[in-house]
Amino acid sequence: MPISTESRTAKIQSIIESRKPIAQKTAETINKLNNLKNLLEKFARFLPIVLEKEIPAENKTKIEELQNSLKKFTDEHIPKYSTEIAQIERRFSRPTLNIGVVGNARQGKSTFLQALTGLSSNEIPSAPDGHCTGAPSIIINNPETFADIEFYGEKEFMQEVIFPYYTKLDLTPQPDSFSSFANTPIPNPTKEFNATKKELYKKLIDRQQHCQKYRKYLNQPPCRINKEQIREYIAQQDKDKKLLSNWIAVKMATIYCPFKIPDAGKISVCDTPGLGDFVCGAEENLIRNIADNLDAIILLKLVPDGGIVKPEDTQLYDLIPKAIPEFSPKDWSHFIINRKNSDENSSINYFEEQLKASAINVRRIITVDVSCAQDVLTSFDQILDDIKNNQQSLDETLYNKRFENIKTLVSNLNEYVEKVKDSLPKTVAGVGVPGKFDKMFIARWSKTETGLESINKKYQERCNTEDVEFVQKLEEIENYLLHNYDFSSKLKESDAFGAEICQYFGNKFHELRIDLATAFDQLDKGLDKIILKVRQEVCDVFQHADQGGLENIFDVDLKIDTRKWLLKLADQIREIDGGEKIAQTIQYFADASFSFRNHLLYRIRKNIDPLGRNDDFAILPQDTFEMAYEKARMAWEKAASDCCAALQSLAKEPNRAISAFVEDFCDGVLRTGGYEEAKSVWRNFYEPYRADIWTDEYAAFEENTKLRDTWNKYIKELSDAVEQLKS
């Protein structure tokens, strides 16, 4: 098929763009799964509370079954499906098209990559002999060359690099930490090793012997290195064939460089070293790498001796479906036969035929001389074209197949929700002793009334007394204004230099008026305390177990904030027939305030305003700075003193205001519409909460309205969350 004339950048961009809608959908699905998991966990915490109540045995069993099922959802199914969806979400969100080059060691992968990327052996080694690339790498097309190196953490390193050796070689005991691995001799084999295992054993010892060299990198944050340092971190040996160890600690190297191929666009290629080398865990790493990072796979191999397909080839091929089970390798793999100059065409052709006849089923087989840049470029373009034509349907297939699991989950959850609906005992009418509630309510309400009236009486008695804290705060302010206010820093001769004396002081008087008024804002600290105190006293009566008993009917946090608690109470009372006016009273009380600015400032304004406007202290044009300063100071003292005196005379106002608030509150709450009418409203308010207030008398769950409401709320929320997941 001829290669499309569309530019490489355009092709790649088109593939990336086409994935965005699916990426969006998968991201939304992940959010929905997370929400669902959170909701299920909340429900899981709620179920024990329900089980504490007295409920029939049959319902108890059902709820216990719900608990068990719930655990499977939250601990198994949802995490599993979330991981699967997250994997494809990362795939579809990738900003680059990633093509992986896979093959055993020494097949020409690095040379192929050099041809594509422009990197040389200085960065990714490709010498004809010796060791080559050690660390897996992704090479991304970028104008500048540098690399980001991600290191293993110690635990991760042990898990992915060291433990596979112990498992493969049956060595015990496994070290429980890197330090232990570093400092404890490798256990001796329990049985005779074959040659392969011997090599693996040697490799393990090698890892231990060199651990001090690469240990320092474990747990380190990712670092950025320049071009010259790349080989040092990804290669097994340097240019002089001296063995390197850093690569052992490298989890992934992301290399940025301007690709050799023109118009490469947002492409990246991945190198997957280690196969065919004595590296335990290399296959697992490859599978993980393919699943997490690759959009297409190039299997690369030199023409083998005899031109036949070897077991290592099929073994490698078989790893691919393990990465993404939804794909068959032929959906997304290509095979490049790496021909050398010395290879005869007949051998190459023979090998190609063998491949086609074998179980290795790929999209296309291309023969390439990887040392020839043009060859590499041509093969790359062919593969890219194929990806472009194929990728969208591949992505949709993957999405749909993964989403099948979600559908199954939805179906299971719907069944679960139905079970939840069916698990509660039905409400039984007429439960309880007739009249029991009324008697209990009357007794409690009587205590509440007494408590409120007692508060009312206390504040009426204080009505015409000065508030002590107010007076104290006022004295502090007066002391500050008359003795500690820094007058001299406010009026400086140096500032007035050159200015007309009247204008300078005129402006300063404005500032002085503001300073004077704001000084009294400190009174609000005391005034706030008074309001808070009385509000707390009222809430205490409503909440106390021996009085109102409403302590636990709202959220715990509300209880701490008395204003919010009262507003919540008002909202609830409002729902009761006839409760609107009582609700309003409570709301007014909750919002009651007494502040200096709102209630007192206007009454002393006449003492502030003369500051700078009183003829007795008028600054005259002929005044010297000293004379004007003295006048300003005396005007300030006069205004401050008069304000304090005026406020002193108002020292009873706070208590008067509070007593008015309290009296109005008690009247409204206890006597709106008449005493009996008000009591009736409160009775109707209390009834739904009876089980929360008289917990001993109303232990039976079916009478616990609040708990039932919560249960129904969970059903609705779960149904909604599952419904959302379906869409």
Binding site: D616, L620, E630, K631, E637, D642, A645, Q648, S649, K652
Partner: protein, 364 residues
């Protein structure tokens, strides 16, 4: 025959301004008397003290700085002082008629129970009860509308108790003149009536009780004075060594030292002295006529210049009452002040300046 002597006690707590008032009264009255051909002269002991205090007041009202707190520190009286003055007029026949006026000034602290106060009050004809107007007027309390520092600064109860003790056995007349000092702040704002209302509210009940105990107590008349004229109230300030704040004052810009109305209390005193003298004459005449009404008529015809008094509502009735009382107590002639006619004439001219609207009379 010795000159009639008028004893006036200056009454009031510490630092209320008794001595300053005395100095101011003297200055103004001396000027007024000189305009009508009389003299009002302090004796040699009195002169330097009065002059010094006058100068202090003048200094207070001088200069350009507003803040007067550091200009002069007027010391409180620390011991009893007697200030003697001779009011005299030279008659056409070269005879001189005189009236001795003695002001007794005692430390304010003595009013809390010192027996010397009781004695002086008991023996004096008149007392001038000095009240600090700023304490009465400034920062009124909500319930009473009286200045919150009035009780601690003017100490009405303590003064009242002193009067009560002094008058426990009193049988002779006594005239109380109340004088509001430091009234500049309120006069400039036309708050004179307010001052009198508050004065009445604070003192009427005490005076009423005193009157009930001491029927010889005459009407109580009040007036206000401005001893400096250009000083007004600034703030209350408590110094470190003080139990309560005291008023601080400031100068009015562009105004000069201009005391005003300082003679008013003494006019009240003079009016009283003239009435006393009139009573004495009537009683003396009655000894001959043996009919009080005829005696009153005879004196009235002989003293046509006394029309001021005759015209005053209720004067004749009050006079009769006083005379009857004096007669019942068998007053001796010389226990009442008997002012010579020439001096009476001069004092009557001073009385022409007495405007009733400037005074407040307690209704006891």
């Amino acid at each position: 025959m010795s000159n009639p002597i008028l004893k006036i006690t200056m009454v009031g707590p510490s630092r209320v301004g008794k001595t300053s008032l005395l100095a101011a009264m003297y200055k103004e009255l001396e000027r007024e008397l000189s305009e009508v051909g009389a003299t009002f002269v302090p004796d040699v002991r009195t002169q330097p003290v009065i002059t010094a205090r006058s100068n202090e007041l003048k200094l207070l009202g001088s200069g350009t700085t507003l803040d007067v707190s550091n200009i002069v520190s007027i010391e409180s009286t620390q011991e009893k002082r007697e200030y003697d003055f001779i009011l005299s007029v030279k008659l056409e026949n070269s005879r001189t008629e005189k009236l001795d006026i003695r002001f007794i000034d005692m430390p304010g602290g003595w009013y809390s129970g010192d027996v010397r106060v009781d004695t002086e009050l008991a023996e004096s004809n008149v007392s001038i009860w000095v009240v600090d107007a700023t304490a009465l007027m400034e920062q009124p309390e909500e319930e009473t509308n009286i200045g919150k520092y009035h009780t601690v600064i003017n100490d009405p109860e303590t003064i009242y108790n002193a009067y009560q003790r002094a008058f426990a056995e009193r049988r002779t007349d006594h005239f109380i003149v109340m004088c509001l000092v430091r009234a500049e702040s309120y006069v400039r704002k036309n708050r004179q009536n307010e001052m009198y209302q508050k004065l009445n509210k604070s003192y009427a009940s005490l005076l009423h009780q005193l009157k009930q105990q001491t029927p010889t107590l005459g009407t109580v008349e009040a007036s206000y004075v401005e001893t400096v004229g250009n000083i007004i109230f600034h703030t209350f300030k408590r110094e470190k060594n003080e139990d309560f704040p005291h008023a601080k004052f400031m100068k009015l810009q562009g105004k000069t030292y201009s005391p005003s109305g300082c003679a008013k209390p003494l006019r009240s005193v003079i009016a009283y002295a003239l009435q006393q003298s009139l009573s004495a004459k009537i009683i003396e005449t009655d000894k001959t006529i043996k009919n009080i009404d005829h005696a009153i008529e005879a004196v009235r015809r002989a003293n046509t210049l006394w029309n001021n008094f005759w015209g005053t509502l209720g004067f004749e009735t009050a006079l009769k009452k006083r005379i009857k009382y004096h007669k019942s107590l068998e007053f001796k002639h010389d226990e009442l002040i008997n002012i010579g006619e020439g001096l009476q004439h001069v004092l009557e001219k001073i009385m022409d300046n007495k405007k009733p609207s400037d005074y407040f009379t307690f209704n006891l």
